[in-house]
């Protein structure tokens, strides 16, 4: 393109300014084509939101045991199991069967220079993890490395030290580093999922790790509790409870024993935290009409966000906190709308179907997941905001509700009745592939909310 303009310059020769402008223009266009891949090449090995994503094969080798005693070997095995489980949980990595491995870095060496990468590229391993473990007086040290086998390059090298009880946490920290290297995002490994469960009788709020492990009961109101929502820093949880006789919003600090209750007259429901702020959006009906308000954590009204006759409910902030997506019945049927908080401009986002609710804004800000009801069938859809085209992610598998994005946007957690007609929590890849049950708890599990990583 640049050479073409040069030719033109020789031909005409009389308008140098315009030619320079032309040259600059084409140069800029050229930059547009070349720059993004150049910038991204550093770490964007994997685009986690690509629906046609092929899983990258990864070899996790045995850990080198530095002292070689029984306990060290055992903890090493546990650590490997946690590591493989976490990596396989992602929708983009696949750990390989060790039977195929041609060499054993636990014996031949775990560092760059000690590894024969052809042993790994030869069996199709694009990524390799080596590890070392030292156990001394109850203290564990893990030396973990991730290699790019085709480029014979160290991508991540980390040393973690801590008590044996924190091995799971150390492994997940390493997984977050892997995620950041491969996808440019910190991933899901240090995130939590809050949900509603009837496992102990009444609906109470619970939380678990990203993989369904480490389940903890958060509320004991012994009544109906609903709609948990994490604050950006993961320290606060907002939820709805009938503990005071009607639906009110409870704000709870999970680290210190403090909180507040938002209990305006009428209902106080569907809380969502403003990103990075101690503010919430929620639907209140004290005016007689269900409207969305911006509130302080004490429940003081900062701003009324919606003003239309009919139901306005389920607000969800854009990742930059500048917009809110919500459900509204203002046009006669419930549809999804987006409101800009500053300019107050409003757009209707859904036009297909007669019942679209429960929107969830994707972490990259480009998509909205929501629930659509057609012919009595309740399913999850994802819509690209720019094109407005919805894609149905669940189909003919019971009722599917409450979508919530994983913090890296690679997955969605949701409620489904596909398993025995009882609502249970599932995760699937953002493209709708590989749906799998997250928890094996008894009773009904609903309304999952995925936190940001800590």
């Amino acid at each position: 393109m640049v050479s073409f303009t040069m030719n033109k310059r020789y031909c005409s020769g009389d308008m140098p300014n315009k030619i320079i402008l032309h040259t600059l223009f084409y140069f800029m266009i050229g930059l547009l084509f070349f720059l993004p891949p150049l910038c991204a090449r550093d770490y964007d090995y994997i685009n986690v939101t690509n629906p046609f994503l092929k899983k990258t094969p990864l070899a996790v080798t045995d850990f080198k045991t530095f002292n070689g005693h029984e306990q060290e070997i055992e903890i090493g095995k546990t650590a490997i199991a946690i590591l493989k489980e976490a990596l396989d949980f992602t929708g983009y990595l696949k750990t390989m069967n060790p039977v195929a491995f041609l060499s054993n870095p636990a014996e031949s060496g775990i560092q760059l220079g000690e590894i024969n990468f052809r042993d790994w590229t030869g069996i199709g391993a694009e990524l390799l993890i080596t590890g070392g473990i030292i156990e001394a007086q109850g203290k564990i040290t893990l030396k973990l490395r991730l290699f790019d086998t085709f480029n014979a390059k160290l991508l991540v090298g980390k040393i973690y030290t801590g008590p044996q009880s924190q091995v799971r946490e150390m492994i997940h920290l390493f997984c977050s580093e892997i995620s950041y290297q491969l996808t440019g995002k910190w991933g899901i490994f240090n995130s939590k999922i809050a949900f509603v469960s009837t496992v102990n009788g009444k609906k109470e709020i619970f939380s678990c790790d990203f993989d369904g492990q480490n389940i903890k009961q958060i509320t004991t109101h012994k009544t109906i509790s609903l709609s948990p929502s994490w604050s950006s820093d993961g320290k606060w949880l907002a939820y709805v409870s009938y503990a005071k006789g009607k639906p009110d919003i409870f704000i709870k600090n999970l680290e210190e024993n403090r909180g507040s209750i938002i209990d305006h007259k009428g209902m106080n429901i569907s809380p969502d935290w403003m990103p990075g702020q101690q503010k919430l959006a929620a639907a209140l009906s004290f005016s007689g009409d269900q409207e969305i308000y911006l509130l302080t954590i004490k429940g003081e009204i900062i701003k009324r966000i919606t003003n239309s006759l009919g139901i306005d409910v389920s607000p969800d902030f854009s990742p930059d906190g500048k917009k809110i997506v919500f459900s509204s019945k203002r046009s006669g049927t419930p549809q999804i709308y987006i409101k800009d908080l500053e300019s107050e401009s409003l757009i209707r986002a859904t036009f297909k179907g007669n019942h679209n609710t429960s929107p969830a804004w994707s972490p990259d800000g480009r998509k909205i997941a929501y629930v659509g009801i057609e012919n009595n069938s309740i399913d999850i859809f994802v819509m690209n905001i720019d094109t407005g085209i919805p894609v149905q992610l669940t189909m003919n598998e019971g009722d599917n509700e409450d979508p919530s994005w994983s913090p890296d946007g690679s997955m969605l957690v949701f409620t489904s009745t596909r398993d025995g007609n009882v609502p249970r929590i599932f995760v699937m890849n953002a493209s709708g592939s590989e749906p799998r049950r997250l928890l094996q708890l008894k009773g009904k599990q609903t309304q999952p909310d995925w936190s940001l990583p800590k």
Binding site: L226, G266, T446
Partner: protein
């Protein structure tokens, strides 16, 4: 000696006569005694009849009294039952809605006119109007829909002259279905406004 025989014979006859006379006189007396007995019996019988009559009258009075009391109790029970039935009807007869709607149809309005009448006749009661939904639709949307249903019912009752201060509203969304089934008829019975007396 022949004379002695005659005398003895006469004597014997006389004695026999005497005996007979005596027996005759005695018989009269016996007859009198019988009369007295009969009179006494008659008197006793008369007394018994009189007493029976008196008793019967007392019994009749008692029965009449009892009947009266029974009837009063019956009437009271009937009235109580009617009041209770009206109260039960107020509490247990729900107002129904169409799918995804908080509008009142003619049947719902008729039901609410009866509710308003009961409320006006029971001035001291304070009630909660609960809005419920079927399970279709999301938890949060249904909470809002239930809130709207309860508010619509409240407004209608206020328009019929019931004081707003006696009417509380609460939404339960899809949390407390009347029928947990997944049929159209279950959904229909779950889309309701329910009345609870505080």
């Amino acid at each position: 000696m022949k004379n002695r025989v005659w005398i003895n014979l006469v004597m014997a006859i006389l004695v026999a006569g005497l005996f007979l006379t005596v027996s005759c006189a005695k018989k009269t007396i016996v007859s009198d005694a019988t009369t007295i007995e009969d009179q006494e019996k008659a008197k006793l019988e008369a007394d018994a009849i009189a007493k029976a009559a008196a008793d019967a009258k007392t019994e009749a009075d008692r029965i009449a009294q009892q009947n009266l009391e029974d009837q009063m109790a019956r009437e009271k029970a009937q009235k109580d039952a009617q009041i209770l039935a009206a109260k039960k009807r107020f509490q247990y007869e729900d107002i129904y809605f169409e799918y995804d709607s908080s509008e009142l149809n003619d049947e719902s309005k008729t039901g609410l006119i009866e509710k308003a009448a009961w409320l006006k006749g029971n001035n001291s009661t304070i009630i909660s109007i609960e809005g419920h939904c079927d399970e279709r639709g999301t938890t949060e949307y249904n909470l809002a829909l239930g809130d709207r249903r309860a508010n619509t019912v409240k407004s209608y009752l206020v328009n019929l002259g019931v004081s707003a201060s006696r009417l509380k509203t609460i939404s339960y969304g899809e949390e407390m279905p009347k029928d947990p089934g997944k049929t159209e008829s279950a959904y229909k019975s779950n889309r309701r406004a329910h009345f609870a007396i505080d």
